[in-house]
């Protein structure tokens, strides 16, 4: 991670117009993804994970709008590109896969025809070339009988196969960055592991960089190099995966880990985080997490903490991060 990161996000702000006035769903988000890295982006529903993905690709739809910041892909600001230029970025440099693979595949189009369409849009080439590429990709994502899947309609595929097909679509033009938005949420547990391992192996084989959005910490533990934890539109902690699990430096992360089911603690009740993600219309003063935090005090109520670097690779947005670290040690 010494080289220039593949993707740098600086102060990204996205707001949604609502009848009660604009709401900042992302508020000055900073994020870096190194080449060949798998970065996990975790958080509760409504914390802004998916909006982050859509903002990077400039796919936020009205009433939402990216209102500020920079998204630098290899130093080039995507937010400054024209829509025409952006279209060349999507699919070719940054691709995306989604939560519900069957919903995201056209029910009346054969898998191969969409795949070949995307390939030909970006790379040109003959139908024969596109077909060869389609078969190569379907094989690469571990689909049996690629020739049959190529001619299949989505309803003829199982959920896991559909997600593999979706991954093949996303990889059609060898993108540098793959954004995976909850790629395993709609799948059976056994299939989840297969898909996650497939992503990891694609990283090895293709040198892919992956932004993996999930609320499933087992998935994060399985493949992520680093983890960014989001809360109410902000990053609250960024660290290498093993540090997040071993020595979390933000009370919210501590709470997330506590809420994770583990075989060893069947006897105990799962601990949860009291309360819920705040209404973005009425954000709490100071630290956004303080009403739900076991550490919350007057300072937290008054002062909004900055994202501080506590170790070379570990950042936290908590006034008391150091104490948390000592407690853990």
């Amino acid at each position: 991670m010494t080289a220039e990161p593949l993707l740098e996000v600086h102060g990204l702000a996205t707001s949604f117009a609502t009848p009660r006035g604009p709401v900042k769903v992302l508020d000055g988000l900073d994020l870096e993804i190194g080449r060949g890295e798998i970065l996990g982006l975790v958080g509760e529903s409504g914390s802004g994970k998916s909006v982050t993905a859509y903002s990077i690709l400039r796919l936020v739809r009205p009433p939402g709008r990216v209102v500020g910041g920079q998204v630098l892909l290899e130093g080039r600001d995507l937010l400054a590109l024209s829509e025409r230029q952006m279209r060349d970025v999507r699919g070719k440099e940054i691709s995306m896969i989604f939560q519900d693979p069957r919903g995201f595949l056209d029910p009346v189009a054969r898998v191969g025809s969409v795949l070949e369409e995307i390939y030909r849009t970006h790379e040109g080439g003959s139908r024969t070339e596109a077909k060869a590429r389609a078969l190569e990709l379907l094989r690469a994502v571990g689909l049996p009988a690629p020739e049959r899947v190529r001619r299949a309609y989505p309803h003829e595929l199982s959920g896991g196969m559909a997600q593999r097909a979706m991954i093949a679509l996303a990889l059609a033009c060898s993108p540098k960055l793959l954004i995976a938005d909850e790629p395993t949420t709609a799948l059976d547990v056994t299939i989840q592991i297969q898909i996650v391992r497939l992503l990891a192996s694609l990283r090895e084989r293709l040198g892919l960089t992956i932004l993996l959005i999930t609320h499933n910490l087992s998935v994060v533990a399985e493949v992520c190099d680093r983890v960014a934890v989001m809360y109410a539109g902000e990053i609250v902690e960024v660290a290498p995966a093993h540090e997040v699990f071993g020595r979390p430096l933000h009370p919210y992360t501590v709470g997330l880990l506590g809420a994770r089911p583990r075989i060893s603690v069947v006897e105990e009740r799962l601990s949860d985080i009291g309360g819920r993600v705040p209404d973005l219309h009425e954000l709490p003063s100071g630290c956004r997490f303080h009403p739900r935090c076991f550490l919350g005090d007057d300072r937290c109520r008054a002062e909004h903490p900055a994202l501080r670097r506590l170790a070379p690779a570990h950042q936290s947005r908590c006034h008391y991060a150091e104490q948390l670290g000592e407690d853990a040690a």
């Binding site: 919903g103 969409v114 995307i118």
Partner: protein
């Protein structure tokens, strides 16, 4: 890894699959049978009809149905059976022609409205609203009256009143499909909105358009026969079903029912045939139900 037998991919061509579905659906099949008979009548009329359609026999007027005149004869001595067979030519040409024109023009307007949106959408759709605010028969009547009664004008008039149906249908499909997740995915993977229109939106709209077309073909025949009946369309004494009913009208009260009954039945059967096809076609065209 994943078990290869999980892949349930049909090896058949789409048309084969569609045909198999049609065969399994008796309602649709009977609709197809009726229309097929009408098409055969239209194509092979000179061989099927025992008499020329426009050659009266003055010595055999107003004959009831018999072996020599299956459907009887009218007041001029025309053979009703021959004329009913020839009538399929007029009415099917009008139905298919009007529907084809309305489909192409209406879909073009609908696509433009749905794709461009904003002001263009408003203008196009309000014009369509104006057209469909008229009762379609009255509007078609006005168009033919303005252009003069002739076969091409009749087809044009019926197409004209059907344009809003298709424009509305395609536009509403576009608004629905545009929100679909697979369209988001396609845009996220770099397809332009225009490619998305052709690759995803239109293919997802054909099924309702086809179904609508079979119904519209039925209405087109009713409108064509109606306009010809009142003298605005195909003219007397050509063998068109509406014209034939007109020619036999005054003989209903005197008991010569066959002059109007057989062309009337032909109209009813054909309209019913198109409607039966439409009923089952939705299922047949949906790949998820194959």
């Amino acid at each position: 890894m994943v078990d290869a037998t999980l892949v349930r991919v049909r090896e058949d061509r789409p048309f084969r699959v569609a045909w198999r579905r049609i065969r399994q659906n008796r309602v649709t099949l009977s609709g197809f049978a009726i229309i097929a008979v009408m098409v055969v009548c239209a194509l092979f009329a000179p061989w099927i009809a025992p008499y020329p359609p426009l050659q009266g026999n003055a010595s055999e007027t107003l004959q009831p149905p018999s072996l020599s005149h299956l459907f009887g004869t009218d007041s001029i001595g025309f053979d009703i059976f021959s004329r009913t067979v020839y009538g399929a030519r007029y009415d099917l040409v009008i139905a298919f022609g009007a529907v084809a024109i309305a489909l192409v023009v209406g879909c073009a307007f609908g696509a433009i409205a749905g794709f461009v949106g904003r002001v263009v959408d408003e203008v196009v759709m309000r014009v369509m609203d104006m057209l469909s605010a008229f009762p379609s028969f009255i509007l078609a009547l006005g168009v033919v009256a303005a252009l003069g009664p002739s076969l091409p004008n009749l087809i044009f008039a019926i197409a004209f009143v059907n344009v809003p149906v298709y424009a509305r249908l395609l536009r509403s499909r576009m608004l629905t499909v545009r929100e679909a997740q697979y369209v988001r995915a396609a845009i996220a993977l770099g397809l332009s909105r225009r490619r998305v229109l052709f690759v995803h939106v239109l293919p997802n709209s054909w099924a309702p358009i086809f179904v609508q077309s079979t119904l519209q073909a039925g209405y087109a025949i009713l409108e064509a026969a109606g306009l010809s009946f009142i003298g605005l369309g195909v003219r007397v004494p050509k063998p068109e079903w509406g014209v034939m009913i007109n020619m036999g009208l005054q003989y209903i009260v005197s008991g010569q029912w066959w002059i109007t009954f057989f062309p009337g039945t032909a109209i009813a059967l054909t309209v019913m045939g198109f409607n039966l096809i439409g009923d089952g076609l939705q299922d047949v065209l949906d790949p998820r139900r194959r």
